[in-house]
């Protein structure tokens, strides 16, 4: 008997190029349409063919959005899969595999599933994926038409023959799934009863892109680098519809300088890259600081240093964003943790960049960007898009001294004034100066905005009940989902969680929220970069750090395990 009524984790594993993405996308789309809560994340190797890639799909009764190590059902489309996933397979895992490929390691957990045989019967091994999807739908017992309707839409362009063969393969898989479910007494979650009409299926890249479009982004220049490329392709695909200028730069240096040039001219510009590419962009951050020109920089983190693990995940670039560019100037760093926050952070980033005339970073990572979740349409918020451009008059001074250090920002060609900016130290007119007095005033002007910027900083989200807690577990960016689920599993009122979606500057009120409690910071890097920053900014000491360096996301199990150490802890107050 295998009952997974509230929570099931299915993993699909195969070689690159085997069409894994097709099968998981089919499943996710149909499951989402049928009202299920789904979450999916992918790990893949840095290659185009071969190797072993896996996608996890969770179907849960409550909304969950975190990577689970446990595998309830493994669909092994390649013999490499079992070896690759051996640490995650347990005695209860059902392994759907083709016996001819796995003969030597076969045991009672295996279910002989003729993915390839059925596909070949249909006409070609390429239909193996459709057989696999059919097997899942058969086990769930979804109406078969829902599957064939989807296949009809999906393959319409490829012709009648492709559609009908896919439907044949689907049927073979579906009937097999029904049979197995009955035979092994497998019960899967039933579809949710409510709220399916406004439900969307979305990945992190799309949420980020939607946020950028909502923010009025109309310029992106970037050089492709995983996992930062997703935003570039998302906006490129929609460039005509939303009037976005898209330029693939010759390198990251060009990308950031073009973005700043565009912004100087009034565009709402963004650049996207990963840590290694951002290394090259640092001079641009310094330039934006000096000429007080807004720029939004998306850093999709992956493990470094150097090329590191190109397709894996990490949160190792906070210090890079924090310290990028020489000299003293203001900046802000955002780190969204959910689809909703990705869309909102992007809008917030543009507002901060334009209102404070600074570079603003949005830090994400491979795990968050590639993860797919169901989301309610109403949860994607449109924030007011704010800008600070004025029409210039004769005698306009781009760097006019004001009380708050922010000069009204004009752009060339809009008004009678001239807009003069210089990367050299300059006076109010943008003329190069070596006056010591002017230099000191300009440095002060550029830094004055840090105070209002901090006061405007987003407060962190509280997970659980912080009033009763004496241990507070702190996460940022992509770790929100895993912290939420681990805190829930722990079920201990003395342990609460806090998630930061803005890392710098911190809101001055953060300190009072955290003091007099034992602080545990969990983050996916070696040193505890945010723990250091938090300690530096608030003066509070960090009792414990949960860090990770393998290049994988934190799993629910490992965070729950790490937190269980604090369950009985009486040494709460530092």
């Amino acid at each position: 008997m295998h009952h997974f009524l509230n929570d099931i984790s299915m993993v699909f594993a195969g070689e690159a190029g085997q069409g894994l993405q097709t099968v998981t996308e089919t499943l996710l789309r149909i499951l989402a349409k049928s009202g299920y809560n789904v979450f999916s994340c992918t790990e893949y190797m840095s290659r185009i063919r071969g190797g072993c890639n896996t996608t996890e799909i969770r179907i849960t009764d409550k909304k969950q959005r975190a990577y689970l190590e446990r595998i309830d059902m493994l669909f092994a489309l390649s013999p490499l899969a079992v070896e690759h996933l051996k640490s995650r397979i347990n005695s209860g895992t059902l392994i759907f595999a083709e016996k001819s490929q796995f003969a030597e390691r076969w045991d009672e957990r295996y279910i002989d599933t003729p993915f390839r045989r059925f596909a070949v019967e249909t006409g070609s091994p390429v239909f193996s994926n459709t057989v696999a999807a059919g097997t899942v739908f058969g086990m769930i017992g979804l109406p078969f038409e829902r599957f064939t309707d989807y296949l009809g839409e999906q393959f319409a362009a490829k012709g009648e023959d492709t559609v009908s063969k896919n439907c044949m393969a689907a049927k073979l898989g579906y009937d097999f799934g029904r049979l197995i479910a009955a035979d092994k007494a497998i019960l899967l979650p039933s579809p949710a009863l409510t709220g399916s009409s406004g439900r969307l299926l979305m990945d992190g890249n799309s949420a980020l892109g939607i946020g950028a479009i909502a923010a009025g982004c109309n310029f992106i220049s970037s050089y492709p680098m995983s996992p930062g490329t997703g935003l570039l392709t998302f906006l490129a695909a929609r460039s005509k519809a939303f009037g976005i200028v898209v330029d693939q730069a010759e390198d990251e240096i060009a990308a950031v300088n073009a973005g700043i040039g565009a912004s100087y001219c009034g565009a709402r510009a963004i650049v996207t890259t990963s840590g290694g590419g951002f290394d090259l962009m640092q001079e641009g951050v310094s330039l934006a600081g000096m000429i007080e020109t807004p720029i939004v920089i998306h850093i999709a983190q992956r493990p470094g240093p150097a090329t590191g693990l190109p397709t894996r995940t990490e949160q190792g670039d906070l210090n890079l964003a924090l310290h990028a560019g020489h000299g003293d100037f203001a900046r802000a760093i955002l780190a969204p943790g959910t689809l909703e926050e990705l869309a909102e952070s992007m809008q917030h980033a543009f507002t901060l960049a334009h209102c404070f005339q600074i570079p603003v970073f949005v830090l994400t990572d491979q795990y968050l960007l590639d993860a797919v979740t169901t989301i309610e349409r109403r949860d994607i918020k449109r924030l007011p898009a704010e800008t600070a451009v004025i029409k210039t008059g004769a005698g306009y001074q781009r760097f006019l001294f004001t009380d708050d250090g922010l000069s009204p920002r004009g752009v060339p060609g809009y008004g009678d004034g001239l807009v003069r900016v210089d990367s050299d130290e300059h006076d109010e007119n943008g003329l190069i100066t070596e006056s010591f007095e002017m230099r000191a005033r300009m440095v002060e002007k550029r830094l004055k905005r840090m105070k209002p910027l901090a006061e405007a900083a987003l407060m962190p989200s509280i997970i659980g009940s912080i009033k009763e807690a004496d241990v507070v577990v702190i996460a940022w960016g992509s770790n929100r989902g895993v912290l939420e689920e681990a805190i829930e599993i722990l079920g201990n009122k003395r342990v609460a969680g806090i998630h930061f979606s803005q890392l710098f500057p911190l809101n001055p009120d953060v300190k009072s929220l955290l003091e007099k409690r034992a602080l545990v910071v969990m983050e996916n890097n070696a040193a505890g970069q945010f723990a250091d920053l938090l300690s530096l900014q608030t003066g509070l000491s960090i009792a414990h750090r949960i860090v990770k360096t393998t290049g994988e996301p934190f799993s629910v199990e490992e965070v729950a395990e790490a937190l269980s150490a604090f369950k009985e802890s009486k040494r709460a107050r530092p």
Binding site: F219, A254, I260, A269, P412, V421
Partner: protein, 281 residues
């Protein structure tokens, strides 16, 4: 050439950082005269530059100015032009900035064919960093770094631009302000990427390529030169002997990048921007 007051004269007193006798002054007169004669509206013109003595040129003109980072004038100019194609965009920088630090951008800006004009102050030496070799320094010139003389093949901007099929390529000598002005006027009026590489002496650090040297080692292209003949232009750009001056190559009527991108064709970024609530914090 007589000096007429122009809209491009600085109303503000700038502290000019160029050395007495520098070729930059002559080139500046040519640029200013060209802008004046083309009747360009200063508020509709953006001059973009990188870093170096040449890159300070926009500082001394009454125009919109983006004096960015070393070697990065072209990416900034690209962003500016793509954001508001109604602006006239002129890039002015030195040989080190354009051909050394910014070499990759030089290649790819030409490939894009954006409608901008690039004026390169080519004095075959690094001035602001005090006399090291530049990409265009000639072999054998000794410097504080190249103590045994320059060993590298000089960068040939005309041949490189031709290889990349740049649609407008000219070479001027700053000592001849009138001819330089005419070439700059043609370049700015040209629709597409135009480059004018301008020879000019550095009176402090280049004791080889002096005013006299340039006069003796350059020659204007004959009137019979067919500027539409790319092969002939390549022969002239790579020939030994006197260095050619004039419009080496032009190819009119090409599609320009900002039009091919297509976005914003019906609305400029300025109008687009106005749909967003104006806000001051």
């Amino acid at each position: 050439m007589k000096k007429t007051p122009t809209l491009f004269d600085m109303p503000l007193t700038a502290d000019v950082a160029w050395c007495p006798g520098c070729g930059n002054y002559m080139l500046q007169s040519a640029v200013k005269a060209a802008l004046h004669e083309l009747a360009i509206d200063p508020s509709n013109l953006v001059m973009v530059s990188g870093i170096g003595q040449a890159a300070k040129a926009p500082q001394y003109l009454n125009v919109n100015m983006f004096n960015g980072l070393h070697g990065r004038s072209l990416p900034a100019a690209l962003g500016i032009k793509l954001s508001n194609r109604n602006l006239v965009v002129v890039v002015e920088s030195g040989d080190g900035d354009m051909y050394g630090e910014g070499g990759n951008h030089f290649i790819h800006a030409i490939r894009r064919n954006i409608d901008i004009t690039v004026i390169v102050h080519n004095n075959m030496v690094y001035g602001l960093t005090k006399g090291q070799a530049s990409p265009t320094s000639q072999r054998g010139m000794t410097t504080p770094v190249q103590v045994d003389g320059v060993m590298l093949e000089p960068f040939n901007p005309l041949a490189v631009a031709l290889a990349l099929n740049a649609p407008f390529i000219a070479r001027a000598y700053a000592g001849d302000v009138e001819e330089t002005k005419k070439m700059i006027m043609q370049a700015i009026s040209f629709r597409g990427f135009s480059i004018v590489d301008v020879f000019q002496p550095c009176v402090i650090f280049n004791k080889v390529n002096t005013y006299q040297w340039f006069r003796e080692n350059t020659v204007y292209l004959p009137e019979s030169h067919d500027a539409t003949d790319r092969t002939a232009a390549f022969g002239l750009a790579t020939a030994a002997g006197k260095l050619p001056l004039g419009v080496l190559f032009r190819s009119d009527g090409r599609e320009i990048y900002e039009e091919l991108i297509g976005v914003g064709a019906t609305r400029s970024i300025s109008e687009n921007r106005l749909t967003i609530t104006l806000f001051m914090p």
